[in-house]
């Protein structure tokens, strides 16, 4: 696979730090119409406790998401969507487990859009009325997700796996936590996690580098910022054991949905080990449960699963879980079978041939995903915060051996760390 690095590296981002402390990655990709920018804050939904000025401070669940809504619905300076629309751009924002992202895409007026993005994210305006109104919208959002049986089955499972890690709750928080959020905490979070030193800007597309650098520089010079405060996210003490073995709820649906989840306690620190764990789990799940595994079509032909069946891992430094499942008419039988497949694989081990094939598949899938500027930018931000580059994905993938997969299989997928969540028709 030599030479690939050069082909991919034809396009690499230029990293620049500005006077305000803001870091920007400018990535020139000729030939694209779209120009895409993403401004990320490190405050995510799982950050509910931090250490600052030597003291610990609690952040209510859903605060990161609330702040995202609040910055977006900034009425003091007019409707943000209108401003972007007037430049022919569309904007959006989302909160994830480990960060909040504000983004726009446009085919023209890139500099004006960049200024707008930096201005609205770096300025927080609010009034008690505007906070009250935003609560109404967020409660509607929470209510909308509650009508998704797929969402219910997933969150019920996370509630089973975790005792107190905030991942067990919706990114938007709970009704109670949202109602408890007020002006003081929003301002505190904005001062701390939206300081230029904490923000990361990625701009990607067919770019005029000089113009962009000048725009950002001037924009940042115009503003004054408080001194940056050092902070650390504090991990809650999450026990290794799962909280509950099983949850069943009734829902107005046509077919039961199940998820079987394993709590993974061996959480590495550092970018490379985290990436390697992600990749090893992706390979393992493909080999055991992918459409090319012997198990998939056996279960399919027996009517245990349909093509909505999936298996996958999610993890960071403070948590990890491997979840599999989907719609089924035979919940008990399916769960039993999934556990059997894992048990059998533990004794038989992983074959080299399967590993090589799974690697090729992941390689191709990753390259295909890089057609999209959004994926490139999102991947860059995630990698940068982990201290990684795009090419690390390829070298890490090549380096993974079957011993690593077998370790995860035998040491981490433990039956006593497994829980099930079932949503049944009413």
């Amino acid at each position: 696979m030599a030479g690939l690095k050069e082909t991919l590296l034809k396009e690499t981002p230029k990293i620049k730090e500005f006077g305000s402390g803001l870091t920007a990655a400018l990535w020139n990709i000729p030939g694209y119409q779209k120009k895409y920018a993403l401004l990320g804050s490190p405050l995510g939904s799982i950050h509910t406790k931090i250490k600052i000025h030597g003291e610990e401070k609690k952040i209510p669940e859903g605060t990161a998401h609330f702040l995202e809504h609040k910055l977006f619905a900034d009425k003091e300076s007019g409707n943000l969507f209108d401003y972007f629309a007037s430049f022919g751009a569309s904007c959006n924002a989302y909160t994830s487990l480990t960060g909040t992202s504000y983004l726009f895409s446009t085919s023209e007026n890139l500099s004006k859009c960049l200024e707008l993005l930096l201005d609205f994210v770096q300025n927080l305006h609010m009034t008690p009325t505007s906070i009250q109104k935003e609560k109404k919208v967020i409660l509607q959002e929470i209510s909308m997700y509650k009508d998704h049986p797929g969402w219910q089955v997933f969150y019920n499972l996370l509630q089973n796996l975790y005792h107190q890690h905030p991942i067990r709750n919706d990114i938007a928080g709970t009704k109670e936590s949202v109602l408890s959020i007020g002006e003081e905490i929003l301002k505190f979070c904005h001062d701390t996690f939206y300081h230029p030193k904490s923000l990361l800007l990625a701009v990607i597309g067919d770019l005029d580098m000089e113009e962009i650098i000048e725009t950002i520089e001037k924009n940042q010079e115009r503003k004054t910022f408080l001194p940056a405060a050092e902070f650390d996210f504090v991990n809650l003490d999450e026990p290794q054991e799962i909280r509950q073995k099983e949850t069943r709820v009734k829902f107005s649906i046509g077919q039961p949905i199940i998820q079987l989840g394993f709590k993974i306690n061996d959480n590495p620190s550092g970018g490379k080990p985290l990436l390697e764990r992600d990749l090893a789990f992706a390979l393992l799940s493909d080999i055991l449960f992918g459409t090319g595994s012997p198990a998939f079509y056996e279960m399919y032909d027996e009517g245990l699963i349909d093509d909505g069946f999936s298996a996958g891992f999610s993890g960071e430094e403070t948590f990890g879980h491997f979840i599999l499942g989907g719609g089924t008419n035979h919940p008990e039988k399916l769960i039993e079978r999934l556990l059997e497949i894992i048990k059998k694989a533990k004794t038989e081990g992983i074959s080299e041939g399967d590993l090589e094939r799974a690697k090729k598949k992941i390689w191709g899938g990753f390259i295909a995903s890089l057609n999209s500027l959004e994926v490139l930018a999102g991947q860059f931000v995630k990698d940068y915060r982990r201290g990684l580059e795009i090419v690390d994905h390829f070298s890490s993938l090549e380096g993974i051996n079957k011993g690593q997969l077998e370790y995860l299989l035998t040491e981490q997928l433990e039956e006593e760390k497994a829980s099930i969540s079932i949503v049944e028709p009413k």
Partner: protein, 427 residues
């Protein structure tokens, strides 16, 4: 914008229309093979079942696992199948995406092999005593039935589908893209095979390609992979009549937290209509962007909904507004929507809104050339609407739309059916 236009090629002896676009912009080569079939309650279920059964076993790959493992070995080549509905067409879609040879060891070109695999799935099915394998047919029948049952799991999609059903009762458009559960149950492998023979001989094949391969090479590969066919039929345009009748309100109860409101309108406008660009602007101004009227009033001003948007179905000539609301606010929401509609009809439109919307629409069209599947999707819809309009031409027409065109075109649009999926009780 670049000249991202497809070249079009017709091969009558193969029943193939080939749409080719060469570019080195992407890291993959993408292909879509579409079989458009008239949407009809009598054949919809068999049409929907067909591609999934073909995918399960061919002469070259008798078992799915053989096919999937081969595709994985070809660097995770994506070969997938689905059935969609566009206007009164049921589209059998085969999608192929392979990594460009520049990103593969030894710069090996895997495209010809994957085109061959695709053709084999379509034209060389695995047969048992002259019929499809019973186990595959029964397995796929079950999956398809489940797909239909589980439509109810996605409340937003379910409510929209129900709105279409009520609105277009008796018209082919009311048929679900996967057909009907009872009809699927009854299909035998023999019947499905006879149906396949008709489709194999007569159905036109539309092949779209975006990638770094010359037209000559692609033609050669396609023609050497796909067999000759003689009696292929041509597609005709959909009817888009607007029936004269009073508005309907249908309320259905379900155990949900949030009410799902859908309002269906008839536009009588498809992509061939000279008013189509004005309709795009009107729909954009009304509800398809975050800067649109509905989002601004219903969500931002009144905080009544988390989601509210409008969209058009450009082949059948429909417009729908969808919103997730509290059931107590049903009347208030409808009132606000109707109020905004009336304002637009009366010409109470800000020049800037029209400007923003036109910019956003043109930007969307320009940006579509950054995604191979968007490019192929637009080309396909144009083919169904029997128009060869380029994206550049559409952009030019959108730019010419005036504020009064927006009021005028919306005047052609008639409210037809309100469908509300209502929570059973307060939760």
């Amino acid at each position: 914008m670049g000249s991202y236009n497809f070249t079009r090629h017709f091969f009558p002896d193969r029943g193939i229309r080939l749409f080719h676009l060469k570019t080195d912009k992407f890291k993959t080569n993408s292909m879509k093979c579409v079989i458009p079939l008239p949407l009809d309650p009598g054949t919809a279920s068999a049409n929907a079942l067909l591609p999934f059964v073909l995918y399960r076993g061919s002469v070259d790959f008798p078992r799915s696992i053989d096919l999937i493992r081969r595709l994985e070995d070809l660097f995770g080549t994506d070969l997938s199948v689905d059935v969609r509905k566009r206007g009164e067409w049921q589209l059998i879609d085969f999608t192929l995406e392979t990594v460009n040879k520049n990103f593969l060891p030894g710069n090996r070109d895997i495209l010809p092999e994957t085109i061959d695999i695709l053709s084999g799935i379509l034209f060389k099915p695995l047969l048992e005593n002259g019929n499809f394998q019973d186990t595959y047919v029964e397995g796929e029948k079950r999956t398809l039935e489940e797909e239909i049952i589980t439509l109810k799991n996605n409340k937003m999609e379910y409510a929209l589908e129900r709105c279409y059903q009520e609105m277009c009762q008796g018209e082919p458009f009311s048929v679900f893209r996967y057909g009907d559960r009872e009809k699927i149950k009854e299909i035998t492998s023999q019947e499905l095979h006879s149906h396949y023979e008709v489709v194999r001989k007569q159905a036109p094949l539309y092949i779209f390609f975006v990638g770094n391969v010359s037209c000559e090479k692609l033609k050669k590969w396609v023609l050497s992979s796909f067999p000759p066919r003689e009696k292929v039929t041509e597609i005709k345009m959909n009817g888009i009549e607007v029936p004269a009748r009073p508005e309907k309100i249908i309320v259905e109860k379900d155990a949900i937290n949030q009410g799902k409101l859908n309002i269906g309108y008839r536009t009588g406008i498809n992509r061939k209509d000279p008013d189509f660009p004005a309709l795009l602007v009107a729909n954009g101004l009304l509800g398809s962007f975050p800067h649109s009227r509905l989002f601004r009033t219903v969500r931002e001003e009144h905080g009544l909904a988390y989601y509210i948007f409008s969209r058009i179905e450009s082949t059948k000539g429909l417009l729908t507004i969808s919103a997730g609301i509290d059931p107590d606010q049903f009347e208030e929401t409808i009132e606000i929507i109707d109020g905004e509609w009336k304002k637009i009809l009366a010409g109470e439109i800000d020049e800037s809104e029209v400007g923003f919307t036109k910019k956003a629409l043109c930007s969307q069209l320009k940006i579509s050339e950054d995604n191979p599947f968007d490019l192929m999707g637009i080309e396909m819809i144009n083919a169904l609407n029997c128009t060869g309009q380029s994206r550049k031409e559409l952009i030019d027409q959108i730019e010419k739309v005036k504020t009064h065109d927006v009021s005028r075109v919306l005047n052609r649009v008639k409210k037809d059916t309100i469908f509300f999926l209502e929570p059973e009780e307060e939760s």
